[in-house]
Symmetry: C2
Subunit: 437 residues, 2 copies
Amino acid sequence: MSDHLTKILLSEDQIPTHWYNIAADLPISAPPHLHPATQQPVKAEDLAAIFPPGLIEQELSTERWIEIPEEVREIYRLWRPAPLYRAYRLESALGTRARVYYKYEGASPIGSHKANSSVPQAYYNKLAGITRLTTETGAGQWGAALAFACSVFGLACDVWQVRNSYETKPYRRMQMETYGATVTPSPSARTETGRAMRERFPDTPGSLGMAISEAVEEAARDPHANYSLGSVLNHVALHQTVIGQEALLQLESVGERLPDHIFACTGGGSNAAGISFPFLHRNLTAGANVRVVGCEPAACPSLTAGEYRYDFGDTANQTPLLKMYTLGADFVPDPVHAGGLRYHGMAPLVSAAYDQKLMDAVAIKQRDAFAAGVLFARAEGILPASESNHAIAGAVAHLQAAEDDGDGQVVLIGVSGSGQLDLPAYADYLSGQMLDA
Amino acid sequence: MSDHLTKILLSEDQIPTHWYNIAADLPISAPPHLHPATQQPVKAEDLAAIFPPGLIEQELSTERWIEIPEEVREIYRLWRPAPLYRAYRLESALGTRARVYYKYEGASPIGSHKANSSVPQAYYNKLAGITRLTTETGAGQWGAALAFACSVFGLACDVWQVRNSYETKPYRRMQMETYGATVTPSPSARTETGRAMRERFPDTPGSLGMAISEAVEEAARDPHANYSLGSVLNHVALHQTVIGQEALLQLESVGERLPDHIFACTGGGSNAAGISFPFLHRNLTAGANVRVVGCEPAACPSLTAGEYRYDFGDTANQTPLLKMYTLGADFVPDPVHAGGLRYHGMAPLVSAAYDQKLMDAVAIKQRDAFAAGVLFARAEGILPASESNHAIAGAVAHLQAAEDDGDGQVVLIGVSGSGQLDLPAYADYLSGQMLDA
């Protein structure tokens, strides 16, 4: 049977020992983050109120390989190396001669790739003597990942969840609480920002912007607390590169060549960075020619319809200015189901790679994303996350267009998470009621 | 790092080639199922109206090893071999010197061990020319497993779901529909039984008994349809023995000895049979001394408080008479969260093993089960299914009682599924409101 493995597994001693930092290899250096008041590049001390030294160093680093602490690799063992699947049954369903693989991050304890960064973030904060982390969450994937990581390292975890999600999507809140986190609907009475918002908009359903402001305010106020962000920033993209490094090794282990095309969903950018940067490293330093396609929601198309300019990371304009593809910090996307992709900007490192033509992007409508997700689930069994469906749809459209070629191309799809907690979105699609956005 | 593996993995060519049938090795043969009218042992032809020949043969077989068809092993590859974890972090949390392992079935596409039997059941029905399977489901785990298997083999899947679950636990229904199944709240207007029940009890929330009756009626009516059951019967216990066979091989692969104790949750009995029978085989044929502990809910304690006698498998008294530990076919357990364990009887093969003192049993209250589940989730990351929490609680109580011994005993826990869709039960526990049953 071993001639046609469905799951390509690695042993735990093959968990990467270093994260890969594409900042070292970009042909043109990524523009620095700027201090919003001075417009000068941010310095380590500007970030020290809310981030620990270990993460600040990574955020500003241009070193190519950054060692993964043994304590972090120890926790990664709970689910890493993550499996790479050969999608035999999807290939049959599509009638393609392409060899299709998918890297699956949904088997992490919290069901998505987010744990790859929450664990080191909790670790470096613990190391710095921090006892509590604050964060914001929308649908709750990042909040759940941080709650898990905090439970591992014995930190308190304080999550502000957008009120509308808190009330209508209770499963993720329950998941965060099971890991011991405190979850507060935002805007809350616990912070100045929150109280001001509640006074001004008594019936507000909340927003990610407000929740960020509350979490940052609380972290800045308490010397024992720090703030934690689940995407966008350089150190988050860095942590996620374990995904692509493993996929490289897995393809090699079965004698497969480098993929011709990689499809990854892009929201804040950390998942796309994670799976693609180690392959871009091969393009940049070893003459490889892997095409990377970021698959973004048509409702929030920062790469395909945004501008490349300095913008704030949050709606309250409190963060450093980041050079990124952006739809504007006040852009409010349609309420599509892929909550993890509803972000106005794109990670500065992904933005730089896209600007330098190192990767492509396509915008995917959510009905097409879910059509691909249902096809995938019925063929492969695994139910993908709403976000991941965008990558699958990008790959399916590509393979269907290339159907007559039958050229034996190699396609790699990043399936960033499980859709078990996204079932209402599938039901919405199957009922024919899904918003055509 | 390889000296202390967290996940013990096998390759796909180590998926078992045969199912293990304990009926061949029981010191006293398991009493046969009886025809309810004649009180004589059922014959193959008595079962032919609703089961295909391949499954009937397995139901009545006393052959020790039954070959797994290559087409079934091919689908098993999507998630098997399932991982065996060394629970290092749980050991630390408990302060025990025991070596604790858990076999995790929650990584199957539908999140539980049920797919181990739904796939061969769909396969043998397909082979027999059947085009549609009917079944009942309560909370929905079995329905989801059969929906997945039917989507794999191109069969229609018709699930009657207890109305109360249909209305209050919509995620599993959405999961079934995503795999293409038709889900009907029971009692329904689609069957005679259903119509009669609706007339008699217009406001009934439904019951498993009614749903079974509807699914069986529909299968018996349509020559192209068969009925499918997710536990209790011999062929279902048989299919699940891939779990224990893999665990045996995994322990051997790291040089571990046989476990001193195995803890498995018991509802209908297929999960407990699956993980334990291959170890009981070693006890019965090779002088091993593995203690197996069935962990049942205190609210539905068929082994620890039931009688060993012939009883019906359903409340409508339509099935063959099964010799089993039973609380009576009309027993209605308290509405505990572990829906998969709320069954009045115990699989005849598990019952025979228990009667012959080949295994032990304990009854676990659900608050204790969830206390153990939360401890497990915070230590190991994985959130166990409500049912699995009973096995974990059994193991934790045992380890805490043995704490001072520090004797390096080996404990194996069967974690039969993921609790992602059981989060409301965790919330109920954490809120302090959980029924003390």
